[in-house]
């Protein structure tokens, strides 16, 4: 059973900063060696294979989706949401814990204007590049070398956001 230790003020500040505009932060008191992270790589490998095998990383499939000429991508995303929804319900109902015995916590997302303006900008870019951030990694891995440029531009975009964050409407 995991113990619940209050984080120090410095740790708390670091956590709050990491939580800014992020949907995937969870603090754990457990300290694991680096190779514990390989379980995420393992799932990532399966994920990358799925991305290629179902052609989710294909620029063509994204065009089809936004032109409403194929059900494929709607089927993928819709099924993923339904499976995710049922899983979260089961986890909440059974009060399931992690394999290390920690309580599972899903942070609430606060609304801000970024979910309008930022999301719109991402949507515009998604239709051009045919990729959200996940498929960017997969496109590079699948051998589309020039996507490295797209990827570096995406990192630059994130960086510029970080620089101007305080001056943008939220």
């Amino acid at each position: 059973m995991a113990q619940h230790i209050q984080p120090s003020p410095a740790e708390l500040k670091d956590l709050q900063n990491r939580e800014l505009d992020a949907i995937c932060v969870n603090e754990s008191v457990l300290k694991h060696p680096w190779w514990y992270n390989l379980k995420y790589s393992a799932w990532g490998i399966l994920f990358g294979i799925v991305f290629v095998k179902a052609e989710i990383i294909s620029w063509f499939r994204i065009q089809e989706m936004f032109r409403f000429e194929s059900f494929h991508m709607y089927g993928v995303i819709g099924t993923a949401v339904v499976v995710g929804l049922i899983s979260v319900l089961i986890i909440k109902r059974t009060k399931a814990r992690t394999i290390y015995g920690e309580e599972i916590h899903i942070p609430n997302k606060e609304f801000n204007k970024g979910q309008i303006y930022g999301a719109l900008i991402f949507g515009l870019g998604w239709a051009i590049t045919g990729a959200c951030p996940g498929p960017l990694f997969a496109q590079m891995g699948a051998g589309f070398g020039v996507v490295i440029v797209t990827f570096l531009s995406a990192v630059a975009g994130t960086y510029v956001y970080g620089v101007f964050r305080d001056r943008l409407p939220h």
Binding site: D21, A22, I23, N26, S28, Y36, L38, K39, G44, I45, L46, V50, V52, I56, W59, F60, Q63, E64, F66, R67, S70, I77, T79, A80, L85, S87, I91, A96, H105, I106, K109, F111, N112, G114, Q115, A119, L120, I121, F122, G123, L124, G125, W126, A127, A131, C132, G134, F137, A138, M140, A142, G143, F144, V146, S153, V155, G157, T158, Y161, V163
Partner: protein, 187 residues
């Protein structure tokens, strides 16, 4: 069995596996699914400068980088050992529209008419790689998540801000595809 794996996978198999990422990450490490954050962690790791947004202990989020590294490796395996045998089977109207714009080669997942090195220093390259990529990186962080963080994780946990974001993703994509892209493709 191996033959079935080598064919392109149907949407329900892919959707189910992607959906299972949500409980997997929660159960093995209390992580909520999200990919775009990896771009931020890279900024924090490589060039935090003195920017508050990047001044945090990125090593505590290293799992996310291991995850995206896995995605790249998995895609490599998918594109080599398990490669789809034929060209992308595009919907008829999409194929006709793209052909009209000079994009006819569907032998790979990405059209070589756009995504090749020879386009890097052209207007097409600037738009499709540099500006497009920038909008993906800037927009996802401003929105606080991408398709995985908002559309899948956010909707799975019934968060209405994620529904707003997902609708805006779609509106942006539809506006680009119908209003702007037809002009960009003829440049």
């Amino acid at each position: 069995m191996l033959e079935a794996i080598k064919q392109p996978w149907p949407w329900y198999v892919a959707g189910a596996l992607i959906g299972l990422t949500v409980p997997y990450l929660l159960l093995v490490g209390n992580k909520t699914f999200g990919i775009s954050s990896s771009l931020r962690h890279l900024c924090a790791a490589c060039m935090p400068a003195n920017i508050t947004f990047f001044k945090y202990d990125w090593k505590k989020e290293a799992w996310n980088l291991f995850f995206v590294g896995g995605i790249a490796l998995g895609a490599f395996i998918g594109a080599t050992l398990l490669a789809n045998p034929g060209p992308v089977q595009l919907a008829e109207p999409t194929a006709a529209y793209l052909a009209e714009k000079g994009i006819t080669d569907t032998s790979a997942l990405m059209p070589p008419e756009i995504f090749s090195w020879s386009n890097l220093f052209t207007l097409r390259g600037l738009i499709f790689f540099v500006i497009g990529g920038f909008m993906v990186g800037f927009g996802t962080r401003y929105a606080g998540g991408c398709t995985s963080g908002h559309a899948i994780m956010g909707l799975s946990s019934l968060q209405w801000p994620s529904l707003v974001a997902t609708i805006m993703f779609m509106l942006g994509g539809i506006a680009m595809t119908w209003l702007i892209l037809p002009h960009l493709l003829t440049l």
